[in-house]
Symmetry: C2
Subunit: 339 residues, 2 copies
Amino acid sequence: VNSVSRSHKKKSSSATLTDVARRASVHAATVSRFFSNPSVVAKRTAARISAAVSAMGYTPNFVAGSLASSRPRLVALLISDLAHSNFNEAIETITAGLAKARMNVMLCLTGGSPERAGQMVTTVLGWRVDAVIAWAPIDTRGCELLRSSGVTVVEICDAAAKPLDIGIGFVQADLGHALARFAFDGGYRRPHFVATTGRHSELRCTAFMQEWKRLAKRHASVQQIDTPAGFQQGRAIFAHIHALKARVDVVICPSDHLAQAIVIEAQAQGLQVPGDLAVIGLGNSPLSSCMRPTLTTVDIHTDRIAPETLAALDVRKQGKRLRKKHINTGFSIVARESA
Amino acid sequence: VNSVSRSHKKKSSSATLTDVARRASVHAATVSRFFSNPSVVAKRTAARISAAVSAMGYTPNFVAGSLASSRPRLVALLISDLAHSNFNEAIETITAGLAKARMNVMLCLTGGSPERAGQMVTTVLGWRVDAVIAWAPIDTRGCELLRSSGVTVVEICDAAAKPLDIGIGFVQADLGHALARFAFDGGYRRPHFVATTGRHSELRCTAFMQEWKRLAKRHASVQQIDTPAGFQQGRAIFAHIHALKARVDVVICPSDHLAQAIVIEAQAQGLQVPGDLAVIGLGNSPLSSCMRPTLTTVDIHTDRIAPETLAALDVRKQGKRLRKKHINTGFSIVARESA
DNA sequence: CTGAAAGCGCTTACAG
DNA sequence: CTGAAAGCGCTTACAG
């Protein structure tokens, strides 16, 4: 019983198209049509095939089908992480949309490493995916591969940046401006902007600072933290704010979770939110409307990402041009109790 | 320019093994070996192939490779949802482990629907996946398909239940007992157990009630809520508890998020946690250690799931038997401030 | 509406 | 260490 003889046993696996065809006394091509376009096969033939299929427990082999048709019905999802993301709901919407379009999704978790993302690009290109949806930084080699492969790539990104192919998202700088105006109009005068690493946050931050300077004639305070901007960082940030000479009256956070953590910390220290300290989140996650106080945050219209992505794939499938297109899905500030 | 002529253009896609072989003046088989087992090809030949590969920007086609070798290097991940899960970190660990083993993961989000899970089983079986990791309810048809396909399936489940194939998890009833004892030993006398729909929660709940009855000689109160047990349900549950005639002194939650929401509600109503109301979570998520007060919760050892899953796959790959095996990964109650 | 044939791009014993 | 050949399980024009 060596490994060679063992490997021969594999043959006893599942029935093939040809097996089904034989049993239904038709050609394999007809069975193939039965699955891909049932309306073209005669009723009676279809019935025979159907019977054979269930009798044999046949399941079409998508690997073979993909190779023959060169339509893998596969899209790759490149994302940094699941645990700390504000956007899991957006991901759910996207995968649900893809499932409805009979697309399978290949999940690639990059952990935020551009290099790992680059390697994963090689892999998904090997699967000849129909598209890759990227929501994570990718190194130059990976980008180059994507570009030269000609695959459809949808980047969830800053809608003002130059996308590899198709970019979907809001304009980070617009949000920075809007947040400054919102805070200023709300009567706040000592904002504290919490930025994370990464280009998106940077763009937002710069715009915020600029607009704040213009409106208030003075600088806002900033603090840079490491991604992911999760609940865990709340204490440290609150301590930082507390230690500032100039008293902060509003803190602008890069995520709802972080905002929530800061609210909790502030309350634990006996501060009133928003009375003593106002807090603004990002993402409009479900918790933001359930907190005490409810959280003022930004809805980045993640529900628009899935339909736009699918529409883009559709256009491509029909062979039309759509290169270098941006789709600005916008955002809206949701004013609630916390600011 | 009709669709037919357009479809012909597809041929201009990427280079194939044969193209590379021609360019390197070797047979395709040699190029194949160069990728699968480089050590068997001569240094000089390898160098020529390598040059050809990079000159042509060749990427091996995994679809073709999978068909030829019948090893797709694909595992399906069937999970209910991403947004409300306590277990996203476990999922990350698992996918990281799979990636290290050069396995690709196919993501299937069932949304908690057993029927949808069943359909997805058909799909992943069509891809002839090496294994399916299931963390979601699957209807009988889907289970039947999995069983008859003979594919390796790892269920993250109650370790006392009868798994389809391999079951990994803790024993829900053990946890129910342990929670009752923990609450009783902590001096609490009026527990409120929040259960969600689903067999797991039910098993835990029954065990809790039984043990509590034995210890305290009286019944605990129970409340059933819909899954997912998220932050959103906090207010309603707190209101329910508040409305109970008998004053509750500890509430046992099916997730950390829910526990957190209840803490926030209680505090908003002027109650002290744990003084007026103690709260116990489930999952030991990162936020549990960062809250105010820090959350007493249950660590269900998700970090053991990934290694055990991978080990199981490994054993199977070597053709060994491991059917109907349970792996009890246990749990531990993490006592912090909230109870 | 159906069949026969070529082909998708690889892998893998089998020889040499 | 390498080549020649068969085969993986489908799809898809092309005829009929």
